[in-house]
């Protein structure tokens, strides 16, 4: 009962300036020839953006690529860049998206 009430409260609450709030979109750049397929970036990505490629590099390792359909999910937290031991992966974040545009207005405005 209490939970239901809280849900109602949360559905009514909405940030007034949500349409103005931005978050960065990260662009994953991989240098395939440096990658050694340790899978650290795939494991530690909080948004599960990366996956192993089907191709191999010149040494026969599968390098990370962006999962299809998850191109806009990278939030440029740079965790993959930090855990990569091989200088192979980097994140460039020059674009921004607003929350309304990405998640849809209804999800935030009416509590999902």
């Amino acid at each position: 009962m209490v939970l239901a009430q809280q849900d109602e409260v949360w559905s009514m609450r909405r940030l007034v300036n949500l349409h103005k709030m931005k978050r960065p979109i990260g662009k994953v750049i991989v240098n395939p020839d440096l990658c050694k397929d340790c899978r650290f970036c795939i494991e530690f990505c909080p948004n599960n953006v990366l996956e192993e490629s089907k191709d191999v590099n010149i040494k026969g390792y599968h390098y990370p690529v962006v999962r299809p359909g998850k191109e806009l999910d990278c939030v440029a937290c740079r965790m993959c860049e930090k855990v990569c031991p091989d200088f192979a992966i980097t994140i460039v974040s020059e674009e921004y998206t607003t929350y309304d545009k990405y998640y849809g207005v209804s999800r935030h405005a009416h509590g999902g």
């Binding site: 240098n31 050694k36 340790c38 650290f40």
Partner: protein
């Protein structure tokens, strides 16, 4: 300089990405990709050490890296610094000699657990006793990785290695307690995943007057292979989930056993003791 693609010794065209622009003059790009196994934590330590050296406030000409034998011994070769690669276990006496000859230098020893604690164990405790003004980074991967997986002084009891195929039956070193008891001025332990904390303690290590010990826990696929623990990623996941950060932990509780249920990290010791050399 290294913004253009450089052709490496392996024939790969390598260009350091934009995010490494701050350390591009410290990394030998022509040597990449480095020789360490997939899943080794040493590449992460290389990045952090280069960043720490760059931002330490001490001129790069004053920095010296001394490494012994082992996988970790290759670390000096990827840095554009005065780096010395010396005989097995003798990195610390070499570094002490450098510091005695020229006290202005900032000498850092990077070594593995076997290099520093087994073969150079005597030098380690006596440099700590004298409190020589050098920095020691011990990369602890619980095994002799390069030579094929023999047990090292930090291999936990019960671990299977090439030289202990039915389970190791000796007790391992408790490295922070050993360093503290021998007299080190600064003792910390972090993993390669706790990068912000490790970076801060590397910066602190350069400032400390006295013997500074930073123990870095690193995954090793040789260790995980011998013990059927999966891949290096699985050990890295353990290092992500299990550790507890406790700066005031009792140093006697810092043992790491084979199950790795209790890993305590933190900046344990910082004290001032009279310095012998440097």
């Amino acid at each position: 300089m290294s913004t253009e693609a450089e052709v490496t010794t392996t024939g790969v065209k390598v260009e350091l990405p934009k995010s490494y622009e701050d350390i591009k003059d410290l990394i030998r790009v022509d040597r990449l990709p480095h020789i360490w196994c997939p899943g080794c934590g040493l590449g992460i330590l290389l990045k952090l050490l280069a960043r720490a050296i760059k931002n330490s406030g001490i001129p790069i000409e004053k920095h010296v890296i001394v490494t012994g034998i082992g996988c970790t011994g290759r670390l000096g070769g990827y840095l554009k610094l005065d780096a010395y690669h010396v005989t097995h276990g003798r990195a610390i006496p070499f570094a002490v000699g450098l510091k005695m000859a020229n006290p202005e230098l900032e000498v850092t020893v990077v070594g593995g657990d076997g290099d520093i604690l087994a073969i150079g164990g005597n030098h380690f405790i006596h440099a700590a006793r004298r409190n020589d003004d050098i920095n020691v980074i011990i990369v602890n991967n619980f095994i002799y990785g390069m030579t094929g997986g023999q047990y090292s002084p930090t291999t936990p009891k019960g671990a299977k290695t090439t030289t202990s195929p039915y389970g190791h039956y000796e007790n391992p070193f408790n490295v922070p307690l050993l360093a503290y008891a021998a007299g080190a001025s600064y003792v910390t332990r972090w993993t390669v995943l706790h990068q912000n904390e490790l970076y801060q303690s590397l910066l602190e290590m350069f400032k400390v007057k006295g013997f500074a010990v930073v123990e870095v826990l690193s995954p090793c696929i040789i260790y995980t292979d011998r013990n059927a623990m999966g891949d290096a990623v699985d050990l890295m996941r353990v290092l992500k989930e299990r550790p507890v950060i406790d700066h005031r932990a009792n140093l006697a509780d810092l043992d790491i056993d084979f199950s790795m249920k209790k890993i305590i990290l933190g900046n344990f010791v910082k004290r001032e003791r009279p310095v012998s050399y440097g």
